[in-house]
Structure formats: structure tokens, C-alpha cells
Amino acid sequence: MSEKGYRGVTVADIVKRAGIARNTFYENFGSKEDCFLAAQQSAMSAALSRVVEAAGEIDDWPHRVQAGLSAFLSYIVEEPALARTCMVDALSAAPTSVRYYEESLQAFVSLFRLGRDVSPHGQELPETLEEALIGGVFWILYQRLLAQEPERVAELLPELVEFALAPYLGAEAARVVAMEGGTAASAPTPHD
């Protein structure tokens, strides 16, 4: 996949790389589309479970967002091929993949939405704010993955945190949180 992209890959390529028989492939998956969706789902749930693990127990919302984004970026840096599968190739594979991709972003919508409770103007924020913020964050990550620069993703943490927090906290307060966090690779995680 990471060599040819979704369209260029055939079932023959997959069974060759996996070292299995064509029959075995069809015992497990109905089609290339099914197989892709399974790979996408497994990669995305691995990434999201890291987010939950890192962010779930932090009460302070701005730091919770920071820890969640940091964990997600670390996943991309460590697993660039899988990250590409679930964040780049997923968008050009099949409608089922696009749908799953859209649904998986909802986890972030809920996390970001909690910011309305701590924002002085939380009541007045546009209904679609979280969707737009996440769309923006994922667009930046998509660009870096497309440019084959996964290692540069870690550096993006401060600006992405700032971008995500600013509408809730104001630019200055968002910046303070963003600057204290460092990059994804160096950010403290609950395991340290």
C-alpha cells in the first residue's frame, strides 16, 4: 500500500507481501476494499486508544487536549505507514473508508467540545466549531504525510494546540499552554 497507493494495489500484491495464498485472502476478506477497511480500522483504533490513554485522566481541559494531540502525533511519527493508511489513503479508497474516517474524527469532536464549558464565551461559539478545528488539524497532518514528512509532524504540536485552544481561551492563553508543552516527542506523557 505505502508503495503504490490504494488504486495501484491488487489482491495479488497483498497476498504476495503477506506470504499467503489467494484463497486465504478470500477466506478472510470479501475484496480489496474489505481488507483495506480492516487495516484502516485497526490503525485508527490503535491511534485513538493512545489518545484516550494519554488524555482520558487529565481534568484540566487545555492540557487534556494537548496530551491527546501529542499522543496522536507520536503515533504518526512512530507508525508513518499505518498513519498514511488511515489518514491519507483512506480518503481516496472507497466510500466505506471515507465514512469510517469521518466517524473516527468524532472522538476528537467530543474532546474539543468540552472546551465550551471552560470558555468565557462557550455559549456563543458556532455549532460547527469543533468540526472545523478538527478538519483543520487533520488537513495539516494530511499535508505532512502526503509530503512524506512524518518526522516533522512532532514539531507541529505547539501550533496545532494553539490553533485548537484559541477559539475557546483566546489567542494569548492558548499560546501559553501551547508553548509549555514542547513537541510531541518531548512532551511528558503519563507513563514518564
Binding site: T128, E131, A132, V137, W139, A166, A174
Partner: protein
């Protein structure tokens, strides 16, 4: 005289209810006919894709909608992908022109952004087939189109970067190098998700949210909300 562009040998392929230029009798220069056929093929592709999705569209679908022969298709395009690229470019050029005109008509940057976004939404609402083609099907239409799709989105960045001009040091400190990219990506994702889900009718009510989202980093949320609700 036999017509080199509309060879009569293919006549049997045409469904009788579809009108086409009568071969040899229209008196139009050949280049015009050729261009007209290209336009019809592009329009035919848009209709076929709206009906069947990109993956399900065949060259036969396209030529049937365009009311031209298969041979004519291959005189203009070597493949379905190539025809899609031409259609995509046509749609994006039109969209870009409308956004540009609307943006340039306003004196103030904030109002220009609002006018530009409104022009984009108006076009997508008025042309749901082209909206789907350019925002949803483009992503599954092969690497060439994806590259152009990405470039088209990145091409919106300068409209927002113009908003940095004349801002205070405090405002500029709150903007990072990727702010505009993130804004554009966020806005496109709001729009394309609705088109993907066949909820194009929701685009109209999206205008104030998009405007507020786009202006907040430059004007602050109170002022951005004021502009967003002014229209």
C-alpha cells in the same frame, strides 16, 4: 462529404431522444465542433459521475450523456481519468473565478472573505453535481486529480494570509505559519462533509459559521462574530 468529427458509422449508438449536432450540415468550423464536443464530454462525465459515482462510471456512460461516439471520446481523451481531470479543471477554474470576483469587489478584507466564501457556497448549492465532482469524487479519481485537489485548497491560503496585513504585534503573535492552512482545511472539511453526506442544502446556513471561523484569529471572536452575523 463524410464528417471527420461525427462519423456517421456510429449513428446507431445514439439514443434518438438525445439531440446532437447534425453531421456536415451545421456549417460550423471544425475547431468549434471539436471544442463543443469536448465541452459535451466534460458535461457528460459530470452527469455520469453524479449518477454512478466515479468508480462506477464507464466511458459508455460518458458518451451516452454527451451524445457523442466512443471514437470521438478517444479523439479528445485517452482515458476516463484524463476526462475527469479536464472536468475537474473546468469546474475549479469557474469556482476560482467566482470567488476571486466576489473577493475583489470588497474594500475591507473581512467583508472580502465573507463575499468569497458566500460565492463559493452559492456555486456549490446551484451546481450540486459539480459540487460532488469537485469535492467528493475528486478524491477517488486518481493521483493526478488528488494533486490538483490539494493544490486548489492550498491556493485559497493567500486570501486569508492577506488578513495579516496591518494587524497589531499582539494579533500576529497569535498566528503560526500554518494558521491559514488549518483554516482552509477546516472550512473545506465542513463543506465537503455535507456534500459527501448528500446534505448540500445545509451549505447555505454554513456561511456565518465559516466566516466566524475564518476571521476569529485575525479579529478576535467578538468582532468576527459581528461580521459573520451582518449578512
Amino acid at each position: 462529404m463524410s464528417d471527420p468529427v461525427n462519423p456517421s458509422v456510429d449513428s446507431a449508438e445514439y439514443p434518438p431522444e438525445l439531440a446532437r449536432l447534425p453531421p456536415g450540415r451545421h456549417g460550423l468550423p471544425r475547431e468549434f465542433v471539436a471544442r463543443n464536443q469536448r465541452e459535451r464530454l466534460i458535461a457528460g462525465l459530470a452527469e455520469a459521475v453524479a449518477e454512478n459515482g466515479y468508480a462506477g462510471t464507464t466511458i459508455a456512460h460518458i458518451t451516452r450523456h454527451a451524445a457523442v461516439s466512443r471514437r470521438t471520446f478517444y479523439e479528445h481523451f485517452s482515458s476516463k481519468d484524463e476526462c475527469f481531470v479536464a472536468a475537474y479543471d473546468t469546474v475549479m477554474a469557474e469556482l476560482r473565478q467566482r470567488v476571486d470576483e466576489a473577493f475583489n469587489q470588497e474594500e475591507e478584507w473581512a467583508q472580502a472573505v465573507q463575499a468569497g466564501i458566500a460565492a463559493m457556497l452559492d456555486f456549490l448549492i446551484a451546481e450540486p453535481h459539480l459540487a460532488r465532482l469537485s469535492m467528493v469524487e475528486a478524491l477517488v479519481a486518481g493521483p493526478v486529480v488528488i494533486e490538483r485537489y490539494d493544490a486548489a485548497i492550498q491556493g485559497l491560503v493567500p486570501y486569508f494570509q492577506a488578513g495579516r496585513k496591518g494587524r497589531s504585534a499582539k494579533v500576529l503573535a497569535g498566528l503560526s505559519p500554518s494558521t491559514e492552512e488549518a483554516l482552509v482545511g477546516g472550512m473545506v472539511s465542513l463543506i465537503s462533509r455535507r456534500i459527501f453526506a448528500d446534505r448540500t442544502e445545509e451549505l447555505e446556513s454554513l456561511l456565518p459559521d465559516l466566516v466566524e471561523f475564518a476571521l476569529t484569529p485575525y479579529l478576535g471572536s467578538a468582532e468576527a462574530a459581528k461580521v459573520a452575523r451582518s449578512r
